[in-house]
Symmetry: C2
Subunit: 330 residues, 2 copies
């Protein structure tokens, strides 16, 4: 690939001058500038940003690490975050963890090696040590969606406990008296908080909290929802509603109920968090708490960019508003 040395040689000037032309430095004679520019175009010169980063100590690259890009919730976060980053001339590198801790850790390492300017992280990790390398290397980051317990770090998300209370209260108002919970690992802040909300809502209405109606799995994926539901319905009295802690789990729950010949919502109602891509097609099915995913991405990236550029490194916790959408599943 052609370098500034090649250009300099052909133009009969020093590499300094070529560099100046490329960076629009004012102190270059028009004639010289024209000559160099012509060569740049003719040779198809493309600067090597890795080389400049070496001296500028800036890569203009921001990494975004997410659990699963095929979940529209995360896809929206990524797209909006990327948009925001682009508008300020940053490129986004993305990492998909598949809810796998080791992959997350590897990504963080790789990204630090690439000297990213900042990181947006929706962690699977539950321990604060995951962000230690970032702090050690002074790399600004913002947590999104999930928090890390014990961390006072910047974070953008929703108020999960409150929203869980809201949706469970809605079920109660609908006359449900046996509301089960199907959720994922409590180590992930959002699921912990949603469970808390579930319990508070039941207590607040004087409803009994049945052990058999509380099923906590590992990961927020379909298979887990499916298995927990079957398990629950084998071992205990049938609930009249299930609060499911996220959309993918809800798919599994629904499929399990179908297999067992329960009708939704006639036999068992379902309410969950998050949405699918089909919003506008066929009235969507699940009653759910809709998080402002795109806004989360934008706001989190904005916060991160401020840290990077403005040096505004104050911790900040931002909680956005969600929407309760009542639909056919209840």
């Amino acid at each position: 690939m052609v370098t500034i040395y090649d250009i300099a040689k052909k133009a009969g000037v020093s590499i300094t001058t070529v560099s100046r032309v490329i960076n629009n430095h004012p102190y270059v004679k028009d004639k010289t500038r024209a000559k160099v520019k012509k060569l740049l175009k003719a040779t198809g010169y493309v600067p090597n940003s890795n080389a400049s980063s070496l001296v500028s100590k800036k890569t203009n690259t921001i990494a975004v690490i997410l659990p699963d890009i095929t979940n529209i919730f995360f896809a929206k976060i990524l797209r909006s975050a990327e948009e925001r980053a682009n508008s300020k001339n940053f490129t986004v590198i993305y990492g998909n963890t598949n809810e796998d801790f080791q992959r997350e850790k590897n990504y963080i390492k790789t990204f630090i090696e690439k000297r990213i300017d900042g990181l947006l992280l929706d962690p699977i990790a539950t321990d604060i040590s995951i962000i230690q390398p970032l702090e050690q290397n002074n790399i600004p980051f913002v947590l999104i969606d999930r928090e890390i317990k014990g961390s006072q770090k910047s974070h953008v998300g929703i108020h999960n406990e409150k929203e869980a209370i809201r949706i469970v209260n809605y079920l109660i108002k609908k006359g449900k008296k046996n509301i089960a919970l199907i959720s994922a690992s409590e180590e992930l802040s959002v699921y912990k908080d949603r469970k808390k909300g579930y319990i508070k809502a039941l207590k607040g209405s004087g409803l009994e909290l049945k052990k058999d109606h509380l099923k906590i799995g590992t990961k927020p994926i379909k298979a887990v929802g499916y298995n927990l539901t079957k398990e629950m319905l084998k071992s205990s009295a049938v609930p009249d509603a299930i609060f499911v802690a996220n959309n993918f789990l809800a798919i599994g729950v629904y499929n399990a109920l179908q297999d067992l010949d329960f009708k939704v919502p006639a036999d068992i109602a379902i309410a969950c968090f998050d949405d699918f891509a089909t919003e506008s097609i066929i009235p969507p099915f699940f009653t759910s708490i809709i998080q402002p995913a795109s806004k989360m991405g934008t706001v989190a990236m904005e916060l991160l960019l401020n840290k990077i550029e403005g040096g505004d490194s104050n911790r900040k916790k931002i909680y956005l508003k969600s929407k309760l959408s009542v639909r056919r599943s209840t």
Copy 2:
């Protein structure tokens, strides 16, 4: 950040030795190696991959450029491609074009500046000039999904014309006699081919091709599907089926029919390409050609990696099999 110079100084060795330890070069005394390793750990040293890339001329980074990551079809491609790349120690940089040509062009430029080792491109561009900078700089790339006309470049996708014939023939077999087409810009290969298939299928069955039943918009997005449908139903006889060239368009078509009080499939059937994220929830609605998105990502990345590593730079066109899924919309 700590560099090999810092380590070298503290260890009382040369940077060469530090570099050797880091890269597991055999000719280092055990004692020296241990001392250096200890310091590497203690200081939290993280190598600067940009600096090594400068000399190795490899970044171990592959870029993936896609039209819209919130469409599950592309999300699947990205996830599987990333997975494959990771397994061979490559990091993925991703760019979302939003079907915008200028953004695509910018991404390619930025990525070349970053000296990516290769590129996976699902282009919005229709002109071969988009890939010229890649060729000029000798950067291996593979087209995915959409081809670029006149290009003999490597490509992984499906046989769009054939599949379109298949799904239209299905509608015909169902007894439909007035099948309309709603599609997007013919400059994009996939839509061009799907239209060809549509026409061939009608001709093959001796059905009349009505001008008013053929609506081609610009981009494959909801709004376009919505508008074209309204337009069609105002200006012409009502079809008994609509073949829609992709999933997002189909949403718009469906919404328009709802607004106009047509029932699907009773009044008008819909068949389309591609799927949504809700496969397993509620029996999915649209009869459609389901492309093997994940496989496309994997295969395309595989092909790209071969070009990068093996130097296997032969052009290759790979066509994968799709599936016709019959569902409620017909």
